[in-house]
Symmetry: C2
Subunit: 198 residues, 2 copies
């Protein structure tokens, strides 16, 4: 087994990002979430702002059809391809934790990558989004569900599959047990994970 | 937190049953899989054979419509209701591991029950079904997929939901890491699980 590469997909407000960050700290390896934007910008020549905006929108199938005729990829597709290349290069180069960005899909043929999904009950997520992220929303449940829907659309557009399908992940954790505790569960699984389909 | 109750749903050939059995042994608590048939028979007055057969078939919606007119439940529904009652009583009475039987759904409002899903890559499952279960099939992949499809239909009929939906479980484990190792991951999660939505 080569590098220790852990991808983390997560429901909005489940604490997936902070779990990934702590995990990387405890393992003494790199952590990539928004850091990825800078890397992709550097690699592709796009501005960070362009990368950030493109990553937030999924091209419509109409735009995609236009591309098929014009032979020029929509911005979000170009950014996704650039991001995928950066993810693959990182996985080759170093041990790291990568949050979001369909990294589990990008590395689906890399058996050395441990694929994790973090979720939590809605009431726990509302509490975190309100009191920790300090985000403002009239209807927190609707706000969170919209965020999840965006993630699911993004995944289903780029990864040709259903976001949050158990079989895409080696380990799915309900983070209601706590952040430190979820990190511990991932570390425990990792201690048994030999890669190469074990 | 009361009893330690762990439900295990599993893909066919993933080793979920043996993982549940070892987990129960290591925790020194009861284990219920086919043992459930005898309990349900005893409780309901049906024969064990009737319970076994009814549990394998999902009533067709046509039969269900007939029931709506005749006011008499189809056999599989009667057995499901009897099984649900047994599961709820067991969870009240003692610490235990319960495999299959939509136990996660039956105990969905019991926050003290830890809900686990075990899956594994198809090639691992073919290997287990062929070499450990010693089952005969012309096409093992098709055989396994049919078994999973039956489980999914059963779940979707009785539990009104999608079998293998991440959010139904506290922990989903790819058992490719090994049986003992999967048991250890569940025990680790359990050590952090306080129940009552934590």
């Amino acid at each position: 087994m080569g590098n220790t590469v852990i991808t983390i997909a997560r429901e909005y407000g489940s604490g997936g990002r902070i779990i990934g960050k702590k995990l990387a700290e405890e393992l003494g390896i790199s952590f990539y979430d928004s850091e990825m934007i800078m890397l992709v910008a550097k690699k592709s020549g796009y501005t960070e702002d362009f990368v950030r905006k493109a990553a937030e929108q999924v091209s419509m199938s109409f735009l995609y059809s236009l591309y098929m005729t014009s032979q020029e990829l929509p911005a979000s597709d170009q950014v996704f391809i650039a991001t995928s290349n950066v993810i693959k290069e990182l996985a080759e180069k170093e041990s790291c934790v990568i949050v979001g960005r369909c990294a589990d899909y990008v590395l689906k043929d890399n058996p050395d990558a441990l694929k994790v999904f973090i979720h939590a009950p809605l009431e726990k997520r509302i509490d975190r989004v309100k009191n920790e992220y300090k985000e403002q929303a009239k209807d927190y449940a609707a706000y969170i569900q919209k965020k999840d829907k965006n993630r699911a659309s993004y995944y289903s557009y780029f990864a040709y599959g259903k976001w949050g399908r158990i079989q895409n992940y080696d380990l799915c954790v309900n983070s209601a047990i706590g952040i430190e505790q979820s990190v511990d569960v991932i570390k425990n699984y990792l201690s048994h994970f030999k890669g190469g389909n074990n």
